[in-house]
Symmetry: C2
């Protein structure tokens, strides 16, 4: 099989090179035709430096030993990366922080009733078994599976199966008449951010939380399991953080300030992002006897996984003994920071990052992204050595301690906040990377730039531009007979031609502090979606051997990512005027506002229907008396909200955005001083979307357009102050934030109006 792939890819890469040489200079936002041609040549020289063989070698080295925070190899990798940056001509240094990072001392999990079962991996705590097909899997230094920031504890209690452990699941439990109070919950991975599972369990009074990987979600139901296929074997375990990152990410003890050696730290019991109950991740194999021992009602259909048993909810008769104890000391965090000063605008910084710490070996997550970043850095270093210099300053960062809570990036941002506010014009992030389709998200003022870049990078497997391959994918996904409304809408937009939409960003990687805490225009760029990494995600089998079979065997997508990010970074660094456009942003926000109207309207009519059905006892009459289900709780009426401030702000924003885009090309004819003034204005646009009060109850998150959801964890909520308030039926808050968001949009619009004035010479 690998031979076939090799042939296929070699053939396609050759075809790509030919096609690229024949191409006319691409359209480049922020460049005139002559500059664009020069930039295209620069990009060709950049491309020529990229060598998939190097990516392979680097990945092998970086993933050879366990790389968790505080491990020997993670530090070695940081030092090696530092040396590499320096070797490639970058001005690089390590920046070290000291973060709370508990590591497991002991773990116990046993079923004590109605039968006895001792979990294979937890007494004593063991890493996952070594496999001959996975050469690193037996390496020394691995920790047993754990969920970082769960509490220490030793509890014995009845078990309740809570499905994904998300808010909807607790509503269902309520209807089933089952409480988790004083009990241990068993949740399966998926359905929302892992950290919410123990958080909600704790909020509902549970005394412990076990999280397992159901084969339905990432095991044999999805495909053949490792090492036959790529999916999670029954004995694989997903590690992961359960920090309450939706409140603030980074070091739990130093919110808002850098975790330097002498930082003022919160005492453990005042760090609101830490949980109190013990939490333990387990394998499907260890979960099966627990699930089989549960009684009570049969689990609702949507709760059932792929283990060969009837899923019951409990509570009990299964009774479980769960104990976790951790080493709660601080661990060092090594960020590698490399810089090439800008030639003409050194005070504008283009920042690019990917983390290097992993749960175990981390070949996929994050080292496949790291080796693309390295290839970019090396190629840029070569360009610099040959005499070229970027107009703006480039900063390349290899973050540490992303896995426990985006710590390396967050602490660095907190350490450099004033400079970043002044200088940063872009942050580009990646994390993992693999065969497949371009996955682009970020600030919508960058949508045109991303589309132009994506139109110029060839997909290694099909030979067409990655944008056209993505367009085909969106069209085909939307054509599926079972496509949902969102997929159909994406297909419609894809088929209409023109720019493809980029996604809004929630959280789950290092861009969060840049975008949501600092208001820096941000992109996340990766490839993937063809062979899922879910099967080895956060396990000991996220290894080099797995990656070269299922990730990107030829490192062709590593090259594609380096090309994509490289072009983005170089254009951002060299463009005479920052390559932003605003029509797409305005349309996107208009769409978000439409969604808010719809959300409130749907909620209103559903609430009214619910009231009627409760009044006529419909739920009671429809229920099976032998499998009783309580009626859902009555809900308060949904008032009509005043969306006028938002609606009006959107109209003005659209008008100003169109005005800017219409005259943007004038920039290239402006005087130096005017162009600089325009550039400063543009650099500050994203920040106008920030409100210092932050989102309701979580002031660290200050971006009024994009945030991770309070109850999704990673998943984005757009216009979050209003949207989440409606979802949580906090009508006053929704109303207040509608005004705040409108103000931010108006301020953004004012920036555009000033820019237009400069462009028209009316300033």
């Amino acid at each position: 099989m690998r031979d076939v792939i090799a042939l296929l890819c070699a053939g396609l890469l050759a075809a790509v090179a030919v096609a690229a040489a024949d191409e006319p200079a691409p359209s480049m936002l922020g460049f005139d035709a002559r500059d664009a041609a020069a930039q295209a040549k620069l990009e060709s020289r950049f491309d020529a430096q990229l060598d998939p063989g190097e990516l392979r070698d680097w990945l092998k080295r970086l993933s050879a030993e366990p790389n968790q925070v505080g491990s020997r190899h993670d530090k070695e990798n940081a030092e090696w990366l530092l040396a590499k940056f320096r070797e490639w001509g970058w001005d690089a240094h390590l920046e070290t922080f000291y973060a709370l990072y508990p590591t497991p001392k002991s773990e116990t999990l046993e079923l004590v009733a109605p039968t006895a079962y001792r979990a294979a991996l937890h007494e004593p705590a063991l890493p996952e078994p070594a496999l001959p097909e996975d050469r690193s899997s037996g390496a020394a230094g691995q920790l047993p599976p754990y969920n970082v920031y769960g509490g220490d504890g030793d509890v014995t209690a009845e078990l309740v199966y809570v499905n994904y452990g998300m808010p909807d699941d607790y509503q269902e439990l309520e209807r089933l008449g089952i409480s988790v109070k004083g009990r241990i919950v068993l949740a399966r991975y998926g359905g929302g951010w892992r950290g919410l599972k123990p958080d909600l369990a704790e909020q509902h009074g549970a005394v412990g939380c076990i999280i397992y990987s159901d084969p339905r979600d990432d095991g044999y139901w999805q495909g053949d399991v490792w090492p036959q296929g790529g999916w999670r074997p029954p004995f694989g375990v997903q590690r992961g953080s359960v920090e309450r990152m939706q409140e603030y990410p980074g070091d739990p003890l130093t919110p808002g300030v850098p975790a330097t050696q002498d930082a003022q730290r919160l005492p453990l019991d005042r760090a609101r992002v830490l949980l109190h109950i013990p939490v333990l991740p387990i394998s499907a194999q260890d979960a099966q006897p627990l699930l089989a021992a549960l009684g009570g009602p049969v689990a609702p259909e949507a709760w059932r996984g792929a283990l060969p048993l009837t899923y019951h909810v409990g509570a009990g008769p299964a009774k479980v003994h769960l104990a976790v104890s951790s080493d709660w000391t601080l661990k060092p965090v090594y960020d590698v920071i490399a810089r090439i000063a800008g030639r003409s605008q050194p005070d504008q910084w283009v920042i690019r990052g990917n983390h290097h710490d992993a749960w175990v070996f981390g070949a996929w997550d994050p080292l496949a992204g790291t080796v693309a970043l390295m290839a970019e850095a090396k190629a840029i270093g070569k360009l610099v050595k040959s005499g070229w210099r970027p107009a703006r300053t480039l900063i390349y960062a290899s973050w540490d301690a992303e896995e426990p809570g985006l710590i390396g990036s967050t602490e660095w941002v907190e350490a450099h906040a004033p400079e970043l506010a002044e200088h940063a014009v872009l942050y580009v992030n990646s994390d993992t990377n693999a065969r497949g389709f371009l996955q682009a998200g970020g600030s919508h003022a960058l949508q045109v730039l991303v589309n132009q870049v994506a139109a110029g990078v060839r997909d290694p497997e099909t030979g067409v531009p990655v944008r056209e391959r993505l367009r085909a994918k969106l069209e085909v996904d939307g054509f599926d007979a079972h496509a949902d409304a969102e997929k159909k809408e994406l297909a419609r937009r894809a088929q209409a031609g023109g720019d493809l939409p980029i996604a809004a960003l929630g959280s789950g990687s290092d861009y969060s502090a840049f975008l949501q805490n600092q208001g820096i225009a941000t992109l996340s760029l990766e490839y993937g979606g063809e062979d899922a990494d879910a099967g080895i995600y956060h396990s000991a089998y996220d290894s080099f051997d797995h990656y070269v079979r299922f990730g990107d065997p030829q490192f062709a997508y590593g090259i594609a990512l380096a090309q994509t990010v490289g072009r983005t970074v170089l254009r951002m660094a060299d463009a005479p005027v920052l390559p932003l456009q605003f029509g797409g942003f305005a349309e996107t926000v208009a769409d978000y506002v439409r969604q808010l109207h719809q959300l409130a309207d749907d909620k209103r009519s559903r609430t009214e229907t619910l009231r009627q059905l409760l009044e006529t006892r419909a739920f009671t009459l429809a229920a099976d008396p032998l499998n009783p289900l309580r009626p859902p709780a009555q809900e308060d009426e949904v008032p009509y909200l005043d969306f006028a401030p938002l609606d009006n702000a959107v109209v003005r924003l659209k008008r100003s955005a169109q005005a800017y885009d219409a005259v943007a090309a004038n920039a290239l004819a402006l005087s130096e001083a005017r162009r600089a003034a325009l550039d400063r204005l543009l650099a500050g646009q994203e920040h106008r979307l920030m409100d210092a009060r932050g989102l309701p109850g979580r002031s660290w998150f200050q971006h009024m357009i994009y945030a991770p959801g309070l109850y999704t964890g990673y998943g984005v909520k757009t216009l979050p102050g209003v949207r989440e308030a409606i979802e949580q039926r906090q009508w006053d808050v929704a109303q207040r934030y509608a005004v705040i968001v409108a103000q931010r949009l108006d301020d953004y619009r004012a920036g555009l109006d000033q820019a237009v004035a400069i462009l028209k010479g009316q300033d």
Copy 2:
């Protein structure tokens, strides 16, 4: 658990009786207030005869031994039923037919490569294992699991997993580049009628067909398995017919004529409803090693079941040896026919039936329905003995040989077609029955009658009228966040108050010949939906022991069914004018026509999108080269069809239906002669929907509004001549049938206009 149920139900039944006594005379279509009050009293006297203890005793006796066609006990049951009818005062006789009914002589199933496995139940062929909790399960006389009307054959070939084996699945196989030609298909039960699986397999060149029950569909995934719970144990097997009933049901050798002893019979090789390839039903347990041995692509998501393995499609390397040999002799079919001649309109027949043959014991299917029918017959017999006589003639039938192909009912209908055309005014069918909700389907002119009846029968579990419980269920199902458009529409109608819609009838039970071959107004009435019978459907565990735990432990729903059918039959028999109304029918047909427009429009726009996506190679670009998927085939353009004849017919139909309903009450003041003329007109209305040419390619099906789908088997297709032609892209046929259906609707409308003329004295 059973004690709790007993208490609950006893309490509720007491409450019901009280409530019923307090009630005012219900509104009764076809009766004036005085007659309605008398009829209500009659219904109370009818109710008073119903005894759940008798139903229990009868069920126990009827299900004590295997009841397949040709078995000793099936014949004994027929004779015992005959004796009972006679004991209760009915004029009863046996009507015997002789039908082709092959029974298994030998069955072989083994995996011969890449490993060897001999199916537990098939070498030698065995019935399912006896269980101590299921007292009949060890009884003598059981046949091993078989699919009646599969071919004899002995084949060894590579295996292909075809999911449900439906047309969509073959399209998917095409895209995967996998052919079943010369291979044996393994299909799971579900997704469409069983008989289509081997039929389509044969059409695609397969040499054998194995059908298994996946635990996802009716086993442990759904709930606890028998004998802990009610669902199918891994060793349970679903038997069933694979006759090509969508062409014609009944005896395969005597299409259109009764299978009397001396009937002219087709030779076996000319009976188009017989298959040629061997077919065998197997258990999940026997399917698992076969599925595990398959290679090839991983099955599409929708194809995956709940066995603990990765589902692959093949073909091979699994290779299977399948052999089936049957005894192809004729077997006797014993219909029990009982009659009470009508007092004033003996020439109008109200017919009621339920079959008595089963795959094995058949406590659920069909004997739970049979005992309700018996209770009705006994109660009616008592009323007759006390001096009452129905105005119209009642015919009660206990059919034989429904399971292999609706044979007993179809042959009887074919034997009595001329009389039926002349006399039949209603056929009411039931089949199984259990706890839950009223499931009513049939001719929409009967919708008001059904609603009035359902408003007067109390649900044993909740004490409200069964109509209101059903309304609550429809409302709650539609309120579910994941409800589809159809459920939402049903909920909307339920919430609007008034009549609940009855379903259109496809096939799968004995009403088919009455409705679709003879054009007799038909109803199917059953209760169910609370504890699924799917788990033991057509297996040896469809037993008395299972039924009294999971079907209807108190036989309260047996009583409810007897009350529901009893009222329907008695009102139909006694109403001075046949209780039909037409507004609901007209609205329903209007809705069907709207659906046709939508279907054609959707198909047109999808075809156009497909053309565009093929032109831009979108499918090729979106596909994963390592998991290739061919583009779907190009489809011919969808022309605009002329629906004007239908649209115009609907407008006229609605107008005439409203006119009839508005003056229907006049009937009670008509002269005897006029009322008789009106009644004759009404009796013939349903027949006006028949077209002697039948549906395209299947002339046995002559009803132009309702038919079982050619590619759904049991599932209904409304306006089938047009709808299926559009689905199958036969534009000319669609166009032709649009005209034919419009003519039938116009003829129906003409009948209504004549009725209105009589009612207005303008005739």
